[in-house]
């Protein structure tokens, strides 16, 4: 899941590394809606990027799901410490000719691959893991799974949920994409938290 809405990048002063960006009031409501959506889905693990906007979001989920939050910096957004000025777009950072503290796309792919490899190391039907991460992670994961390159970019809204199932040995495909960029619908006063399945889906309909 992508983190919820956060303060705009330029509103937090000269530091643009993202770690100062906090959830807005809308973002906190989005996180609560997402927590309700996950509540009936037997989630077993909750992991988050170490960046504040993701961590805040994960804390909301943790409270609703009764799970501890495991922080994993490998879920962080591609690193662009120098404020992005003069940097090529993330996917064009193909080599090491970039300032110190900035990740190339290949380095970022490597980090995402190591994170996912760890998760795949002990596959089990009962494991249902929520990763609270950032939009770049979705593109990297898609590229790693499907081999697609820069030709496709994925739209991911705040609290957009993409559901992948890892099925080693399945002849139909090792990875099954259940849904992409599902954003849990805001709760209405009369709706039940247990309904859970109410959602707006941008993209593949399940």
């Amino acid at each position: 899941m992508r983190h919820a809405e956060d303060t705009p990048r330029n509103s937090v002063g000269p530091r643009c590394d993202g770690d100062m960006r906090l959830l807005t009031s809308v973002g906190r409501r989005q996180a609560a809606d997402a927590a309700r959506w996950f509540a009936s889905r037997r989630i077993t693990e909750l992991r988050t990027s170490s960046l504040t906007r993701a961590r805040q979001c994960a804390d909301v989920l943790a409270g609703a799901l009764g799970l501890p939050v495991q922080e994993d910096p490998r879920l962080n957004e591609i690193v662009s410490e120098s404020g992005d000025r003069g940097l090529p777009p993330p996917r064009e950072r193909r080599n090491s000719r970039h300032p110190r503290g900035v990740e190339s796309w290949d380095e970022f792919l490597g980090r995402v691959a190591r994170c996912l490899s760890d998760l795949c190391r002990e596959p089990a039907a009962e494991r249902r893991i929520v990763l609270v991460t950032h939009s770049g992670f979705f593109d990297a994961m898609h590229e790693l799974i499907g081999g697609g390159g820069k030709r496709m970019e994925l739209q991911v809204e705040h609290v957009g949920i993409t559901h992948w199932q890892y099925r080693p040995g399945c002849p139909a495909g090792t990875w099954l994409l259940h849904r992409h960029n599902l954003t849990p619908a805001p709760s209405a006063p009369s709706s039940s938290a247990a309904s859970g399945g109410v959602a707006r889906i941008d993209g593949a309909q399940t």
């Binding site: 792919l109 490597g110 995402v112 691959a113 190591r114 490899s117 499907g146 080693p168 040995g169």
Partner: protein, 327 residues
């Protein structure tokens, strides 16, 4: 079955020849003996021939009339391929084209090719299955993938069944030390290098990267015993005509082993300390690489019988008994 084996005097090739003979096949080996050894094939007929000699290959095919070809002959160093790119493309790609063309001309029914996990490159989500993205990093990996595609094209054009066997990290030796790998002093394979150090033939080994994001900081690899690899070739050969299937197959144990774990196993088996010095990571070395070998099991009934301790124990015994194998 009449089986022609190129590179049959080399490491994996010689173990496979032995198992093919044990299974009752009639085998002829082609090898230029540039790295292979005549004694590795025993009494099996050997044609000393280079795979760049297309006329020679056709002549052998005409006289032997093989029903299957197992093609091992190749250069196999990712690192060397960077500085010897012309040679790697000529030997691996042109050589393979000569072999597969001769096979097609001789109406060979089954073709098994020694490919490599190098076709996957990095980064990858591990375990890697056969449908994972292909992005080789070295010229060596590129040659293997080009060969795979070329063999597939011949297969489609002629009806020849094929399997492109993607090896992970081949290691180990015969349990009775009767057969094993001969390396030279340029080898980068961790096990022979470490054994050479333990035997006092080389200084402390260098571990390239102890700061990987793994449990002990060293890279994870998938070691598979050479006897298991050889048996895979025989099983694939026997079952290749089922279901009209052809394609790539991973041959790995499916278990990641860190470099530090491998050295610990060597300490235990040898009873000696293994002095290791951390060094910088090598460009292009993946942090983690291990196989999903499920397809080989489902389609060919193959799974490994030897574990890490067997790999280390047989390697240690072989290189200790035959120091010349360390160059």
């Amino acid at each position: 079955m009449r089986v022609l084996v190129t590179g049959g005097a080399g490491y994996v090739g010689s173990f496979t020849v032995r198992q093919l003979l044990g299974a009752g096949h009639e085998v002829v080996v082609i090898d230029n003996l540039s790295s292979g050894r005549r004694e590795a094939v025993g009494e099996c007929p050997l044609e000393v021939l280079d795979i760049l000699d297309s006329h020679g290959l056709r002549s052998v095919c005409r006289s032997f009339r093989p029903q299957a070809v197992l093609h091992f002959a190749a250069l196999k160093s990712s690192e060397a391929s960077l500085s010897e790119i012309d040679t790697y493309f000529r030997v691996n790609v042109t050589g393979t084209q000569n072999v597969v063309a001769a096979a097609a001309e001789a109406d060979v029914e089954r073709f098994i090719f020694s490919s490599s996990c190098a076709v996957y490159g990095t980064p990858q989500i591990c375990p890697v299955d056969e449908e994972s993205p292909i992005r080789p990093e070295s010229p060596y990996g590129e040659t293997k993938y080009l060969c795979e595609r070329m063999i597939a094209a011949y297969g489609r054009a002629t009806g020849m069944r094929y399997a492109n066997l993607r090896y992970f990290n081949a290691a180990g030796a015969a349990v009775d030390s009767s057969l094993g790998e001969y390396t030279d002093r340029t080898t980068r394979q961790i096990l022979p290098v470490a054994i050479r150090s333990v035997l006092g033939l080389a200084p402390a080994i260098r571990i390239f990267g102890d700061d990987y994001p793994t449990e002990d900081g060293t890279a994870l690899r998938d070691y598979v015993h050479v006897e298991d690899l050889a048996r895979a070739h025989v099983q694939v050969l026997h079952r290749l005509d089922r279901d009209e299937w052809s394609g790539p197959v991973n041959l790995g144990g499916g278990q990641p082993t860190s470099v530090a774990e491998l050295l610990d196993a060597l300490r235990k088996v040898s009873g000696h300390d293994v002095e290791a010095i951390p060094a910088a990571r090598r460009p292009g070395d993946p942090a983690v690489s291990w196989a999903d070998p499920g397809l080989a099991h489902r389609r060919f009934g193959w799974q490994t019988e030897y574990g890490l301790d067997d790999i280390v124990r047989t390697s240690w015994a072989w290189h200790s008994d035959v120091p010349a194998s360390l160059g």
